[in-house]
Amino acid sequence: MAKTIVQEFTKGLWDEIPPFRLVLGLCPVLAVTKTVANGVGMGVAATFVLVCSNILVSALRNIIPSQVRVPCFIIIIATFVVVVELVMQAVAYPLFLQLGIFIPLIVVNCIILGRAEAFASKNPPVASIADGLGIGVGFTIALGALAGIREAFGAGTISVPFSDTVIQLFGPSFQPFTFMVEAPGAFVCLGLVLAIMNLIGK
């Protein structure tokens, strides 16, 4: 492995930023990015699961028989998802109500299983933590950015994560472009961001 720990971390922020470069885990990306608070909340929850499952998968990589590795990964991931669900209910109940079914759905998020299979099961724990953190932070940034664009145009507000504050961006005469907060708006917005990123990449 020629890559350093720092490189493992930073690759998740641009080169392999999950929804845009890997185009994985689109279900929560499209569904919960109506507001910045929801998007970032989802990103943080997924990051926690990703880092924890990467640590365990990596630490147990020589014990887990390769024939049953996927069930083992799923047990690890599902356990941490339920932990997140319970903790979120205990400390951030309104966010839990907003995210609803998409919290349990983190279990089947391709990013997390993908990192367990492609990275953590082949690398030592420290590199896996860096990888998990990088991908997780990238995922959170991507969700936050997408949600920011959609919320700004669709509702004219930016909700600050982990507080009740909502910033009004425009004056009272603002007519919300509600298409952006509906499901088709999510696809269009994602497509435009992908196009812009490809343009910059060239």
Partner: protein, 197 residues
């Protein structure tokens, strides 16, 4: 053969560890989650009914075992006396059970107010029983010992227009609750005393 045993053991041990961890987290967060659910689902209704009380009814609560069912009571302290309780009851609505939070003054056996907590009624019609404060406000001052009915049934409550069944369901729920309220009253009064300041 050894491989198969190894797979079974590894999977089994992991599942058991996962289960143990979850059981721990679950019991660790149970009390907190219950409080959060109270605060965001039932809280608004309770706060509205026991308006002006000097304590936090969500903290000052107790449970009484009524046969198979465990009923929660939320205490409201007024003028230093714990003379108001709120509890939840259910009535049959148009789209399913309606949860109704009922506030009672235990000294006068009078209703302090009611508030709908959970329902599956038609949005815009039946849901107004929850969203329109003037509906719940009518119940204030009524006696709990008499059946409460909507006007078409010979009672005093103005039904929400377009939602007679919902309104009847709420009244039915309140009337039904009088039965266990009367039966449990000695216990309620006894337990509520502990919260007086």
């Amino acid at each position: 053969m050894r491989d198969i045993i190894r797979m079974i053991v590894v999977l089994g041990v992991m599942a058991a560890c996962g289960g143990a961890l979850l059981a721990g987290v679950k019991s660790g967060t149970a009390a907190k989650i219950e409080y959060q659910q109270l605060k965001f689902v039932k809280g608004p209704a309770i706060k509205n009914i026991l308006e002006g009380c000097t304590n936090d009814p969500l903290v000052d609560r107790f449970k009484i075992k009524d046969g198979e069912i465990e009923r929660s009571f939320y205490v409201g302290v007024f003028d230093g006396k714990a003379n108001a309780v709120a509890y939840e009851t259910f009535g049959k609505g148009f789209g399913g059970d309606i949860g109704v939070m009922v506030g009672v003054n235990v000294e006068a056996d009078e209703l302090l107010g009611i508030g709908v907590t959970t329902h599956a009624e038609t949005p815009g019609l039946g849901s107004r029983a929850k969203d329109d404060p003037s509906f719940g406000a009518q119940f204030k001052g009524m006696s709990i010992s008499k059946p409460i009915k909507v006007k078409p049934d010979g009672g005093e409550v103005d039904a929400v227009s377009g939602a007679t069944i919902t309104s009847k369901g709420v009244c039915q729920g309140v009337t039904d609750s009088a039965e266990f309220y009367t039966r449990l009253k000695p216990q309620i009064v006894e337990q509520a005393k502990a919260f007086a300041k």
